[in-house]
């Protein structure tokens, strides 16, 4: 918002560069399992940023995020594949994002009229509708078995294992290549979403959430901004859908169900509403934790090896229990999410380094924002 001190800015730039360097180096050290977790996390982060903009910043509860993710994923597969127009894959990816945005635009008149929990239920209908269409429109979606995803090609470079590629002695398969694509797309998301949030549209959306009346008398065109939030959020969801499709290499209808929508809501709540970093942290948490736990649960005490049926807890169940417990713990002890937790820790550290702080002034933590306000105080 305001100009930062040059030193603080330099430190920030240093951290960013270090993070980018580490992320770029990872494919040289990690195996495919970890890279796949990373890919899913990056895709989820893009989608979560989109939902965070809509539900966290603009305060419109959406249970329909899975629908827009499916629009992106299936849009890409159909546009690039056979049967379908068979467009160049890069063009298909861009069009799929626009398609998801258009779907959000078509739905936005509804979003302009219903609020709060009612909007949540209205968007729920989208998920069921979408799932049904995915199952029945065989010629486009491939029905129950779904469709395989054509690999993305950019200027003759294929993001698949079709061609051999070795860099610094490391064989570069699909995961390694997609990793850099995912990083680039995530960087675009980070850059644009933060620009939006810290700019004029972001302030207008926050005002819509906190009080539509105040927003209106301050000159914000309420219905236009409500619709725009939906369109932008759907476009991010569409991009996430394309990324997911490329990582999975096969799209199936059952993935894009209500559970996926709920997962995305969990991401933005766990991460902390209203910030890009929070949505990202939540996305990584929700995506990576179940996968990691499933893989390593058999090393925990009291967990049976996979395949045994002697009444003990299997690794899959153990992963679910731990995942559920982690969510409850975070909501109990960090109601403003991972982002709020980090902010408070940072404030405490800074306070300790500076003068001894008087009690109660170290943590300027905000009260948790309710994602959705069905009612606002009337003026």
């Amino acid at each position: 918002m305001s100009e930062r001190l040059p030193r603080a800015r330099a430190i920030r730039l240093g951290w960013t560069l270090a993070a980018v360097a580490v992320l770029c180096a990872l494919p040289f050290y990690l195996d495919a399992f970890w890279l796949r977790i990373g890919l899913f996390s990056m895709a989820a982060a893009v989608g979560a940023v989109g939902l965070g903009l809509l539900s966290g910043t603009a305060g419109q509860l959406s249970l329909g995020h899975a629908f827009f993710l499916a629009m992106g994923a299936y849009g890409y597969v159909w546009l690039a594949g056979e049967p379908g127009p068979g467009l160049p894959t890069a063009v298909a990816a861009v069009l799929a994002v626009l398609l998801a945005g258009a779907a959000g635009g078509i739905f936005s008149p509804v979003a302009g009229r219903v609020r709060g929990i009612y909007l949540g239920v209205a968007t729920l209908a989208l998920v069921f509708l979408g799932h049904h269409v995915l199952l029945t429109a065989d010629s486009v979606t491939g029905g129950f078995n779904g469709r395989s995803v054509p690999p993305l090609e950019l200027g003759g470079f294929s993001f698949s294992t079709d061609s051999e590629l070795t860099l610094l002695g490391v064989p570069f398969g699909a995961e390694e290549r997609l990793w850099y694509l995912g990083l680039a797309l995530f960087a675009v998301t980070w850059f644009t979403a933060r620009g939006l949030l810290h700019g004029r549209p972001g302030r207008a959306l926050v005002a819509l959430r906190d009080s539509e009346t105040a927003a209106a008398v301050m000159g914000v065109n309420v219905s236009r901004y409500r619709s725009a939030a939906f369109v932008v959020s759907s476009m991010y969801a569409g991009l996430a859908g394309v990324m997911l499709a490329l990582s999975f290499r096969r799209v199936v209808p059952d993935y894009f169900g209500l559970v996926l929508s709920v997962d995305y809501l969990a991401m933005i709540v766990i991460g902390g509403l209203g910030s890009v970093a929070g949505a990202t942290a939540g996305a990584v948490f929700v995506t990576a934790l179940p996968l990691l736990m499933t893989r390593y649960a058999d090393q925990l005490p009291l967990v049976a090896a996979p395949g045994t049926t002697d009444g003990t807890v299997g690794p899959t169940e153990a992963a679910r229990y731990l995942y559920g417990a982690a969510i409850v713990l975070i909501l109990l002890f960090a109601p403003d999410g991972l982002h709020g937790l980090v902010r408070r820790l940072r404030a405490r550290l800074r306070g300790r380094r500076a003068a001894p702080p008087p009690a109660g002034t170290t943590s300027p933590s905000r009260p948790p924002t309710s994602a959705v306000r069905a009612k606002e105080p009337t003026p």
């Binding site: 939006l196 004029r200 302030r203 207008a204 959430r209 009080s211 209106a216 914000v220 924002t369």
Partner: protein, 266 residues
């Protein structure tokens, strides 16, 4: 940056009637706000003062009557269009948004700036320049209203009086020609009241805008207002300078009750 050095247009309210399901909240109310003056709207609770403000800012559509600002007809315009024409308001109960004082003041600059979703997302140079310019102006207004030291503080951490002042400054950020203040000193202590009065005087002198004021503090109304309109049960019962209104028998009756009622009560 819009600079309204010329006199603000006249705000004319003519025969405005508002009904809420059988209750007539405003009954053919008319008054005119002289450019550059402070016009107070007073009356007992439920007299229709806030409804009148809601009509002026477009939150409530009248069943009959017109509201005009200079040549523009505000009667059927959406709130955001009215704001763009230079009518800003504050609320009786504080309505700020999350974030810092700067964020709130920048919301006030919304109608005066252009950058849309695409320009902001891509951080185009023109969007960044616009943001910088408006931030500078917002800082000036914060200084004018005595909020400079809180500019980067979250609004939620400020005192009640300061938050009320944030609302006031946010309305000023719209560079309004007419400023509607709904109980600007309600709940403030004496020092905060004095300070607010001072700020109203300053902005009126420096920005040359018209102020419409709803307030229960009669001492403040009598000191600030050039003209007073008195409402009771949605009707205009008196109008004039503060001195004229103070001695008006209708006004005394509305505020204190009639002699006959007092005897009944006794």
């Amino acid at each position: 940056m819009t600079d309204r050095t010329t006199a603000p247009p006249e705000l004319a309210v003519t025969d405005v009637t508002v009904r809420f399901a059988g209750l007539t909240a405003l009954d053919a109310v008319s008054f005119t706000v002289t450019p550059g003056s402070v016009h107070a709207l007073i009356g007992p609770n439920g007299a229709g003062k806030s409804t009148c403000f809601n009509v002026l800012s477009g939150l409530c559509r009248p069943a009959a009557g017109t509201v005009r600002l200079g040549d523009a007809d505000l009667t059927r315009l959406a709130p955001h269009r009215i704001a763009a024409l230079g009518v800003a308001r504050t609320f009786q109960n504080i309505v700020t948004t999350q974030g810092t004082v700067a964020d709130n003041l920048m919301l006030g600059r919304h109608a005066l700036s252009r950058s849309g979703f695409a320009a902001s997302a891509l951080r185009l140079p023109q969007a960044r320049r616009e943001q910088r310019e408006h931030l500078d102006r917002a800082r000036e207004i914060a200084e004018l209203t005595g909020l400079a030291q809180h500019f980067d503080h979250p609004v939620a951490l400020l005192s009640y009086g300061d938050r009320k002042r944030v609302e006031f400054a946010r309305a000023l950020c719209l560079e309004p020609s007419v400023l509607l203040l709904d109980e600007p000193v309600a709940g403030m202590n004496a020092a905060e009241r004095a300070r607010t009065v001072e700020v109203v005087h300053t902005v009126r002198a420096e920005l040359g805008l018209s102020v419409v004021l709803v307030e229960h503090d009669m001492g403040l109304v009598m000191r600030l207002a050039d003209e007073v309109t008195v409402l009771d049960f949605g009707r205009r019962i008196a109008h004039g300078t503060p001195d004229e209104v103070r001695s008006d028998p209708e006004v005394l009756r509305a505020y204190l009750g009639t002699g006959a009622e007092q005897e009944d009560a006794a």
